[in-house]
Symmetry: C2
Subunit: 354 residues, 2 copies
């Protein structure tokens, strides 16, 4: 503990500058060192077990080698939505293999947004956002301070680098699949309107039906959300209507919502997929856990995390990628919640922007 560059210099019989240069293996330094001096410094450092103080280094260089990660509202997501965990895993994978560390922050209830934004003052070099709210004060702060950031699931814009997946195509795939299985009375349990994925998923779904000449009345688009409870409630309401109005298929906002719908369907004495087919969205580990396992739109969640982290890091290193608004392709994972097991394997989105 407490071994500084000075101690190394003293033991090696050199100046601190020499030690600094040697240990950082600077190639473009104006300082030149003989091999002999280098070796003396190396062995002195090794002997003392020297490890450089990153704080001091940061102060001198202005670089902290720390990335920030802002996860959405804790109660609702981190805990109970596998999506966030998988994004986190992807990000971690990339971070662990880099020279950066990750500072974590969650927008928690009870904490004023301004305080949440303060974590940026702890001198992160860049920030990753997951599903940031429309006018996130944290994002505004980054912009004002000129701190680079990349958002996962945010509407692409001039000022932000974003990583998204092809939600429109996801909706389309879900619709096409159900149509192919012969369904025409389909209900969409719509996602939370202030999450950017909700609208394009609906559009894609609508277009699929339109292309097939199938009508989608407004009454078939039910506001729901991303956890199972709202899925349950929305579906229950649907099934409270007269029997003739019942759909034969459901396109749910996500897998959790689909699970809620399935429960509601079961509670009415109907079964999935025999009476009503259900398509989910996300394809996290959870979608294999439902009864029956979900046919669902696969999002490359892990990859989105990885890519966002990679983009941020390369940006910090001065590189600018070809595409700062990548949209990753989605596919359809067919399991058992829609029947129609004739279709096996996954069906990939034709669009494959990487």
């Amino acid at each position: 503990m407490g071994i500084t560059i000075k101690d190394v210099a003293k033991l090696a019989g050199t100046s601190v500058s020499a030690v600094s240069v040697a240990l950082n293996a600077k190639q473009n330094s104006t300082i030149r060192l003989s091999a002999a001096t280098r070796d003396r410094i190396y062995s002195a450092a090794a002997q003392l077990g020297y490890v450089s103080n990153p704080i001091a280094k940061s102060l001198a260089t202005g670089k902290t080698k720390v990335l920030g990660l802002m996860l959405p509202y804790a109660d609702a997501f981190i805990d109970q939505n596998p999506f966030c965990n998988q994004v986190l895993t992807g990000i971690m994978q990339e971070v662990v293999h880099s020279h950066y560390n990750l500072m974590l922050y969650t927008a928690t209830s009870g904490i004023p947004l301004d305080k949440a934004a303060m974590f940026i003052d702890s001198r992160v070099e860049g920030v990753l956002f997951v599903m940031p709210p429309e006018n996130s004060s944290a994002i505004v702060k980054c912009q004002k301070l000129g701190i680079p950031y990349v958002s996962i699931l945010q509407r692409p814009s001039e000022s932000s680098w974003t990583v998204n997946s092809d939600d429109y195509m996801g909706g389309r795939l879900a619709g096409d699949h159900l149509l192919k299985l012969g369904h025409t009375k389909i209900v969409h349990l719509k996602g939370n309107p202030d999450v950017v994925t909700s609208a394009p998923r609906l559009s894609g779904f609508q277009d699929a039906l339109i292309s097939a000449g199938v009508e989608l009345p407004d009454a078939s688009i039910i506001p729901a959300g991303f956890d199972w409870r709202v899925g349950y409630e929305a579906m229950t309401k649907v099934l409270e209507g007269p029997r003739i109005t019942w759909p034969t298929a459901i396109f749910a906002a996500n897998d959790l919502c689909a699970e809620g719908a399935i429960r509601a369907i079961r509670a009415t004495g109907l079964s999935v997929p025999e009476d009503i087919a259900v398509v989910g969205y996300d394809d996290t580990w959870f979608s294999t856990m439902t009864q029956p396992p979900l046919t669902t739109v696969h999002m490359p969640i892990y990859e989105m995390g990885e890519l966002a982290a990679r983009m941020l890091i390369s940006r910090l290193e001065g590189q600018i990628p070809d595409d700062i608004h990548p949209v990753l392709p989605v596919s359809l994972t067919v399991r058992h919640s829609c029947g129609g097991s004739a279709l096996t394997g996954t069906q990939t989105s034709p669009i494959s922007i990487q």
Copy 2:
């Protein structure tokens, strides 16, 4: 950007030392400032939008106000085990309300442990470990460097502060519950042997049976683990034996394992709880998701995260709590996987060490 304490001093017409003292509201400082000077400094700082540079502050004070969190092996846990997410949420709750920030790290496959341990060198003031391996190099490093740490789910020892829950009692509650329902042929799907919770859960379970005079043959203790796949496989193996050997109840390593067991039971054409009752362990959100919802031992996971963070922070602030090896009480959450709905509500562990 780049507004320093010097700028504030210049504008306020004072020295930098005055600014430093004023803005830190030091009460025990030898430096005294008049109210007038204080005000001039405050308004100068406000006018310039000054925010102190935490890096420089850290270098000067030797405190970084950063906590480290080491989560277990990413592939296996973060992603797919709700346990970790809930611990994280609890930790976050506490951290967000403190003056500390959280640096995240995961032991990932493919990263040598030594490198993983390096994140400690980024000058965290203290570290939280979740389920650290027996001889974690990161823990050894903390000990060597004198960095305080608190482990969640680690065997209590002189050298470590730990937070655990009452696993023995958990096993006991599970056993008692099944016995009360009349079961005598019970199989335990045992947890991974290198996770500390596995052994005490088994002991508690065994003691429950012994107290009731019920025999538990070695063959009824099946090595399994903490994800659904191993639960499925273990259960399948059990059901491959002759019908007479089939148990009437299962005590699973955790909820995921229980889910696997339920699937295996279903796959054999039997049903839960009618043919075989199943008790899980953890009681995360996932345990309400299974069919039927799990009767399970409730661990205060969120609270464990909170408590661990609180202990670490108070330790860093020089306080020593009464108990540095707290064992939180568990309880039994009765749902539907064991039938016996006569028993409702939860049954709390008599032991309640806080």
